[in-house]
C-alpha cells in the first residue's frame, strides 16, 4: 500500500511543480495546492500508515496501547492544512486584485517593477 501512496506523492509533486511553472496565476495557485497536498502525504507516509486504529484512548483506558496510528505527523499535517488554507485564501484574493488593477493573469507580464513597461 505504501508503494502506491509513494507513487501518488510523486505524481502530486510532479504535477504541482509543473503547474507552478505555468504562466497563468490561477495555475500557479492550483500548483501550490497540489504541491501542498503532496507534502502532507509525504509527512503522513513517514509516520507509516495504519488502518482503522486512530490515536484515541479508549474511554476506559488511561494510556494508549497496542497498535495505533502515529499522532505526531497527524498533528503536523493538521497545522499544515490550516496554514495552507490561509495562504491559498490570501493568494486567491491577491490574484483577483492583481487582475483588477493590471488586467492580466500572465506572470510574464509582471516581471518588472516599472510601471511603463
Amino acid at each position: 500500500m505504501e508503494i502506491i501512496l509513494a507513487i501518488i506523492t510523486g505524481v502530486l509533486y510532479a504535477s504541482g511543480v509543473y503547474m507552478i511553472m505555468r504562466r497563468s496565476m490561477v495555475k500557479l495557485i492550483l500548483g501550490i495546492i497540489l504541491l501542498g497536498n503532496g507534502v502532507n502525504l509525504l509527512i503522513f507516509l513517514l509516520g507509516r500508515i495504519t488502518k482503522g486504529e486512530p490515536p484515541i484512548i479508549d474511554s476506559a483506558e488511561k494510556v494508549l496501547e497496542g497498535v495505533y496510528a502515529d499522532p505526531v505527523p497527524q498533528a503536523l499535517i493538521l497545522t499544515a492544512i490550516v496554514i495552507s488554507f490561509g495562504l491559498q485564501a490570501f493568494a486567491i484574493i491577491l490574484v483577483k486584485r492583481t487582475y483588477k488593477v493590471l488586467k492580466t493573469d500572465d506572470l510574464d507580464q509582471l516581471n518588472t517593477t516599472d510601471e511603463d513597461s
Partner: protein, 768 residues
C-alpha cells in the same frame, strides 16, 4: 595619547556644526589643532631620547583581544611629529590656498579626520586597532582626492585609490588575524618575543604575503604604484600631506614596525629588496618622461618609497637608520616641493614645466625654498639629504655579496631623483620670465613661509645631525634593529668610497639636469607603453569582471518566475538524483498490496484522475472542481488511515477554498495556454523526474526503521498530563499550545490581508 588621536576626530565632528565660522578669515585658527599636537609630541622627545617606551592601554573588546593600546617609541614619535608638523604647515597653507572656497570647512574636516586616523595608525600597538585606523586613512584619502567632486577625473582617481588601498586593507586584516592566531596576541610589543615562533610557523609565508600586499598597495610599490599619480588630482595641500609626507608612508611604517617581528626568514629580505629596487628604479626613470610638475613629484615620491622599502628589506642596523633619516629627508623636501608647485599652480595657472621659467623674478622667497629643497633632494652638503644619501650607500655597500648591484641601483635612482628635484624645484625659476607672468606677485606669507620653514629645517638638521640622532635614529635603532650597536650621524666622514659615490651622484645629476629637458614628445613616447602598464591591465581586468558579472546575473536573474523555479527544482533534482543513485537500493514489498480493499482502490483512482484533470483540463472551472475532488479524496484517505481529525479539517478547508475560488473566478480573464509546446515539454520532463525522485526517496525512507519515542511519549502521557483522550487534539491544544496560538495569529493576519485587499480602493493615479 588617546586624547591626541581623538582631538582631530572631535575637531572634524565639530566642523560639521560650526563649519561656517571656519571658512573666512578664521580658517587659520584650524591649524591650532595640529600645532598643539605637534608641541605635545615635542615634549616627549627627552623621554624617548633616553630610550623610554611609553605605553597606554584602553580596553575596547577585550574578549577578542582588540584594545586601544598605544605605544610611543622612537619610530612612532618620528611619524607623529611628521604628521603633526607637516600637518600644521599644510593647515596654514590651505587657509590661503583654498581661500574663500565654498567647502573649505569640509576640507578641514577631512584633513583633521585624516590626521587623527594617521596618528592612531602610528601610535597603535594593537594590530586590530592599527587596521581600523589604516582603513580610516584610506577613506579620508578617498574624500580628499575626490574633493573636486564635480570633476569626473577626480572621482575616478579617488575610486581607483580607494580600490587599491582598500584591497590592501583587506590583506592587512587577513595578515593581522593570521599573525594574531600564530602569536596568540594582537599586541605588536608582545609579538617581538615571538620572532622565532612566527618565522617557524607554516603560515609564515602567507602572513608575509598578506602584510606585503597591504604595505605595497598603501605605499604605491610596483605594480600597485599607479594610483598615486592619479591621486594627484587632489588639491595640492592633499598631495603634500597625504601622498608624499604621511599616508603613503603608512605601508613603509607597517614594514618598519613589523620588521623585528617578521624579518626572521630570508624571504622577507628577498621580496622587499626586489620590490623596492624595481619600484625605485622604474619610477625614477619615469621622472624623465613627465612634464607636469605634480607628475614628476608623484613619480619621485614612488621612487623614494621604493628606496625605503628597499632599505627595510636590507634590514641591517645601518639600513634601518638610513631609512629613518631618509623618511625625514623625504618629508622635508618633497612636502616643500609640493607646496611650491601649489604656489606656482595657484599663481600662474599651469603646472607644465615646459612653460614655466624665470619665476624667481616675481616669487623670490619661493625660488629660495625651491632651490634648497632641490639641494636636499639631491643630497648636496650641508643638507640633511647628504647624510641620508650617505647612509643609503653605506648600507648597500655592506650588504653581503650583492653589494655592487644594490649600490649601483641606488646610485642610478639617486641620480634620477637629483634630476627630478632640480626640475621641480629650480627649473621653473631659472631663465627668462615670459611676458604673461610678469604681472605676478607674491602670494600670502601663509603660503610661502611653510616650504621655507621645512627647507631651512633640512639645512639645520644637516649641520647638526645630533638632533636627529638622539631624538629618532638612536631610539629607532634600539627598538627596530636586531642587534643594536653604537653609532653617530656625521656630515663629514673624511675621504671615503661613499664620498666618492656621492660626488659621482651629484655630478651625474647635474649633467643630466643640463642635458635633458622635459619635453612633451617624451611624455607622448612613454604613453605608448600604457597598454602594458599595470594600471591599464587592472582597468581591463575590472571591466572584464563587470562584464562577467553582468552576464552571470542576467543569466540567472531573468525576472521570470518559472525560470527561477526551474533552476531551483533542476538543481534539487540533480542533487537528489546524485544522492539517491550513488547508493541505489530498492526494496519493494509487494505483498502488502494484497490487503487492498475496493474502497482504497477507488479513492486512489479518484485522486489520481483528479490530479491529472487539474493539469490537463482547458476549463478553469473544471480545474478548480478537480482540485476539490483531490482534496475530498484526501479527506477520505485520511479517514481510512486512522486520521479522523485530518479528514474533518481537510474536508472543511477544501470546501472553503473551492467556494472562494469559484466566487472570484468570474472576474478573471480567459484560461489560456500561454507557453509554447517546447517549453512545456521541458517543464514536463523536469517535473516528472523530480516527482520520480521524490517517490524513490520515500521508498528509501520507508525501509529505514522508524523512531517511535516521541509518539510513545504522547501515547503514555496524553491523558495523565493533559486529561484528553484524542491524542492529536491534545498535542495541538496542550503540548504544543503556543504553536497553535501563533498559527491562529497567522490566520488572523491572512484574514486581515484578505479583508484589506477586498476593501482597498485604489486612487485613479495608482491604477495606471
Amino acid at each position: 595619547m588617546l586624547g591626541a588621536v581623538l582631538l582631530g576626530l572631535l575637531f572634524s565632528f565639530f566642523l560639521v556644526f560650526a563649519g561656517s565660522y571656519f571658512k573666512g578669515r578664521l580658517a587659520v585658527l584650524s591649524s591650532l589643532v595640529p600645532i598643539s599636537l605637534f608641541v605635545y609630541f615635542l615634549t616627549y622627545i627627552p623621554d624617548i631620547a633616553q630610550g623610554e617606551i611609553i605605553y597606554e592601554n584602553y580596553e575596547w573588546i577585550p574578549s577578542f583581544g582588540v584594545n586601544l593600546s598605544f605605544t610611543l617609541d622612537g619610530l612612532a614619535l618620528l611619524f607623529a611629529l611628521m604628521i603633526t608638523g607637516v600637518g600644521s604647515l599644510v593647515f596654514l597653507y590651505t587657509s590661503a590656498y583654498l581661500k574663500n572656497h565654498k567647502y573649505l570647512d569640509r576640507f578641514y574636516g577631512y584633513l583633521s579626520l585624516f590626521m587623527a586616523a594617521m596618528l592612531g595608525l602610528v601610535l597603535s600597538d594593537n594590530l586590530m586597532s592599527l587596521f581600523i585606523f589604516w582603513e580610516l586613512t584610506s577613506i579620508s584619502s578617498f574624500y580628499l582626492i575626490g574633493f573636486n567632486n564635480d570633476k569626473a577625473d577626480s572621482r575616478k582617481s579617488a575610486l581607483i585609490a580607494l580600490g587599491i588601498t582598500g584591497i590592501g586593507g583587506l590583506l592587512l586584516l587577513g595578515g593581522a588575524v593570521l599573525l594574531g592566531d600564530v602569536a596568540g596576541t594582537y599586541r605588536i610589543s608582545e609579538m617581538l618575543a615571538m620572532r622565532d615562533v612566527i618565522s617557524d610557523s607554516p603560515h609564515y609565508l602567507l602572513i608575509l604575503l598578506l602584510i606585503f600586499g597591504a604595505a605595497f598597495t598603501k605605499s604605491a610599490q610596483f605594480p600597485f604604484h599607479f594610483w598615486l599619480p592619479g591621486a594627484m588630482k587632489a588639491p595640492t595641500p592633499v598631495s603634500t600631506y597625504l601622498h608624499s609626507a604621511t599616508m603613503v608612508k603608512a605601508g613603509v611604517y607597517l614594514l618598519f614596525r613589523m620588521s623585528p617581528v617578521l624579518s626572521g626568514g630570508d624571504i622577507w629580505h628577498t621580496i622587499l629588496i626586489a620590490v623596492g629596487a624595481i619600484t625605485m628604479v622604474y619610477s625614477a626613470i619615469h621622472i624623465i618622461f613627465r612634464t607636469d610638475l605634480k607628475g614628476i613629484l608623484a613619480y619621485s615620491t614612488i621612487s623614494a618609497l621604493g628606496i625605503l622599502v628597499f632599505l627595510i628589506g636590507i634590514g641591517t642596523q645601518a639600513a634601518l637608520i638610513a631609512a629613518a633619516v631618509f623618511i625625514v629627508v623625504h618629508a622635508l623636501y618633497k612636502a616643500s616641493l609640493f607646496l611650491i608647485t601649489g604656489i606656482i599652480d595657484h599663481e600662474t595657472g599651469t603646472r607644465d614645466v615646459t612653460q614655466l621659467s624665470g619665476l624667481r623674478k616675481v616669487l623670490m622667497p619661493v625660488a629660495i625654498a625651491g632651490f634648497i629643497a632641490a639641494l636636499i633632494s639631491g643630497g648636496v652638503p650641508p643638507t640633511l639629504g647628504f647624510i641620508g644619501k650617505d647612509l643609503i650607500y653605506e648600507s648597500t655597500l655592506h650588504y653581503a655579496d650583492s653589494a655592487i648591484l644594490l649600490t649601483g641601483l641606488a646610485i642610478i635612482t639617486k641620480i634620477l631623483l637629483f634630476y627630478g628635484g632640480f626640475v621641480a624645484g629650480v627649473k621653473p625659476f631659472m631663465g627668462k620670465l615670459p611676458e604673461k607672468f610678469s604681472k605676478l606677485h607674491l602670494p600670502s606669507p601663509l603660503m610661502w613661509v611653510p616650504p621655507l620653514i621645512m627647507t631651512l629645517a633640512g639645512i639645520v638638521f644637516g649641520v647638526f645631525p645630533g638632533l636627529i640622532e638622539s631624538a629618532f635614529a638612536k631610539p629607532i635603532a634600539m627598538t627596530q634593529a636586531i642587534n643594536y650597536e653604537e653609532f653617530h650621524l656625521k656630515l663629514w666622514h673624511g675621504f671615503t668610497t661613499i664620498l666618492g659615490l656621492s660626488a659621482i651622484t651629484i655630478t651625474a645629476g647635474t649633467v643630466l639636469y643640463f642635458t635633458i629637458k622635459p619635453k612633451h614628445s617624451l611624455e607622448n613616447f612613454i604613453a605608448k607603453f600604457d597598454v602594458v602598464a599595470p594600471k591599464d591591465l587592472l582597468i581591463k581586468l575590472s571591466e572584464g569582471f563587470a562584464l562577467f558579472s553582468r552576464f552571470w546575473t542576467n543569466s540567472f536573474q531573468t525576472g521570470y518566475l518559472r525560470h527561477y523555479l526551474s533552476i531551483i527544482v533542476g538543481f534539487l533534482t540533480l542533487l537528489l538524483g546524485y544522492l539517491i543513485f550513488s547508493d541505489f537500493s530498492l526494496n519493494i514489498d509487494v505483498s502488502t498490496l494484497a490487503d487492498l480493499t475496493i474502497y482504497e482502490i477507488s479513492i486512489l483512482i479518484m485522486l489520481l484522475l483528479g490530479v491529472l484533470y487539474v493539469v490537463f483540463t482547458k476549463s478553469r472551472l473544471a480545474a478548480v472542481a478537480a482540485t476539490g475532488v483531490v482534496g475530498l479524496s484526501f479527506s477520505l484517505l485520511f479517514l481510512f488511515y486512522s486520521a479522523p481529525d485530518l479528514a474533518m479539517t481537510q474536508f472543511s478547508v477544501d470546501t472553503l477554498t473551492v467556494i472562494l475560488f469559484v466566487l472570484v473566478l468570474y472576474k478573471l480573464p480567459k484560461y489560456l495556454k500561454l507557453s509554447d509546446s517546447k517549453l512545456r515539454i521541458k517543464h514536463r520532463i523536469l517535473s516528472i523526474s523530480f516527482g520520480t525522485l521524490i517517490t524513490l526517496l520515500i521508498l528509501r525512507v520507508l525501509n529505514e526503521p522508524k523512531n517511535t519515542e516521541i509518539s510513545e511519549y504522547y501515547a503514555d502521557y496524553a491523558y495523565k498530563l493533559a486529561h484528553g483522550k484524542n491524542i492529536v487534539n491534545v498535542i495541538l491544544v496542550d503540548f504544543r499550545g503556543i504553536d497553535t496560538m501563533i498559527e491562529i495569529s497567522v490566520l488572523i493576519v491572512a484574514a486581515l490581508g484578505v479583508f484589506g485587499l477586498l476593501k482597498l480602493r485604489l486612487k485613479t493615479r495608482d491604477k495606471k
